[in-house]
């Protein structure tokens, strides 16, 4: 007569190994936090990976203050028009069909009268900018996000 060990020993071992593998993988993922990912892969990757979480976080923060947005929202990277690199992220807000097309926010900096500095934030439907950025009407900026490494 077969014992339980004979019948299920192999399966149990398999389950145990699977559990260990899952634990190891989870441990690795948690060990690499958002700060590490930022250092390794850069802002563009982190924004793409965590855009949904950050978007929900901002909407939750607004909801707690009774300032919910009645429009579609999305988190996208901010692209510096001067350097061409990603320098942060922004939550854009507006008409759902337009918000879906937004890939980045172009930032143009301007100075006037020496002491005033203006950062113009233009939601755009591309991830690169060549020439003057062309904004998407019906979409604006709700939040600017800085990443500290």
């Amino acid at each position: 007569m077969k014992t339980l060990r004979d019948r299920f020993g192999g399966r149990l071992m398999l389950v145990a190994v699977a559990l260990v593998v899952v634990a190891l993988i989870s441990g690795t993922v948690y060990a690499l936090d958002i700060g590490d990912l930022l250092k390794i892969f850069g802002i563009g990757y982190v924004v793409k990976t965590f855009s949904g979480d950050i978007n929900s976080f901002i909407n939750k923060t607004l909801g707690e203050r009774g300032a919910e947005i009645r429009g579609a929202t999305k988190v996208v990277p901010i692209l510096s028009v001067g350097s061409g690199g990603f320098i942060g992220a922004a939550q854009v807000v507006g008409v759902p069909s337009k918000v879906q097309t937004i890939k980045a926010v172009a930032q143009v900096e301007a100075k006037f009268q020496d002491r005033f500095r203006m950062r113009v934030l233009i939601p755009i439907s591309t991830e690169t900018v060549s020439g003057a950025p062309k904004g998407v009407s019906g979409v604006g900026v709700s939040t600017v996000l800085d990443f500290g490494i």
Binding site: G35, K60, R70, A72, R119, L121, G140, I149
Partner: protein, 233 residues
């Protein structure tokens, strides 16, 4: 001996499953919120506010109605229902409902819709979205959507930015854009600071119709530019 080992493994697995279930437990709660001289009930899921009940009805106060909604949600959560089962139904022009597996969760009526500047159906959809997001689910095409809010850029205006913590203290200026009627209502931009996972700092800009500790958002208006003034000293 072998049986003992098996029991031990089974016990360990059961403990793991219980721990995981506790970690991912979803819980609804209700609390009272005072808005001016009005009492409102807030429904929370996993500590996130998902809807506000702003009036008494059927012999229940606003808070009691919120507690009723929280109890219905907890009933569904105990039964193991996930975020995928919420549905919105339009009853008539006056009412829409959020249901879960055919059971009523909450009714969005004309009064609440008007307070939120939308229709009962759109309000019910916004509540559904908040519920799904609070449970960690995903909603197609982003969150609370109201077709009645126009975000088209028709006008712009430069207004001061003030910190929501210290109203009256101006910390810069912003150019806001949006429909002319909405931009006309904007008196300032309130700035809220929040930290996400220690690394991401969020500067949230809310176009508002007054400078106070509880400013009201002007829907349809958004920020297009931020202006800093470099102090000469």
């Amino acid at each position: 001996m072998n049986k003992r080992r098996l029991w031990r493994v089974a016990l360990a697995l059961a403990t793991l499953v219980c721990a995981a279930a506790t970690a991912f437990a979803v819980e609804a709660a209700a609390r009272t919120r005072t808005w001016g001289d009005r009492e409102e009930g807030e429904v929370l899921v996993n500590d996130a506010v998902v809807m506000r009940i702003r009036s008494a009805a059927g012999g229940y106060s606003a808070t009691q109605r919120a507690e009723l909604v929280a109890a219905r949600l907890n009933g569904a959560f105990v039964a193991g229902e996930g975020w995928q089962d919420f549905r919105v139904g339009t009853v008539n022009d006056e009412e829409a409902v959020v249901t879960k597996q055919g059971r009523l969760i909450v009714t969005a009526d004309r009064f609440h819709a008007q307070v939120n500047g939308t229709t009962p159906t759109m309000l019910a959809r916004a509540w559904e979205t908040n519920l799904v997001q609070a449970m960690g689910g995903e909603v197609a095409a982003q969150a609370p959507v109201s077709p009645e809010v126009d975000w088209e850029r028709q006008a712009d205006k430069i207004v001061p930015i003030f910190s929501i913590g210290t109203p009256g203290v101006s910390i810069g200026a912003a150019r806001v854009v949006g429909p002319a009627a909405q931009v006309g209502k904007v008196k300032a931009v309130a700035q809220v600071e929040a930290q996400f996972k220690d690394v991401v700092r969020a500067h949230i800009y809310i176009p508002v119709s007054s400078i106070s500790t509880h400013p009201e958002r002007v829907q349809g208006a958004s920020v297009e530019a931020l202006i800093d003034y470099n102090m000469p000293f």
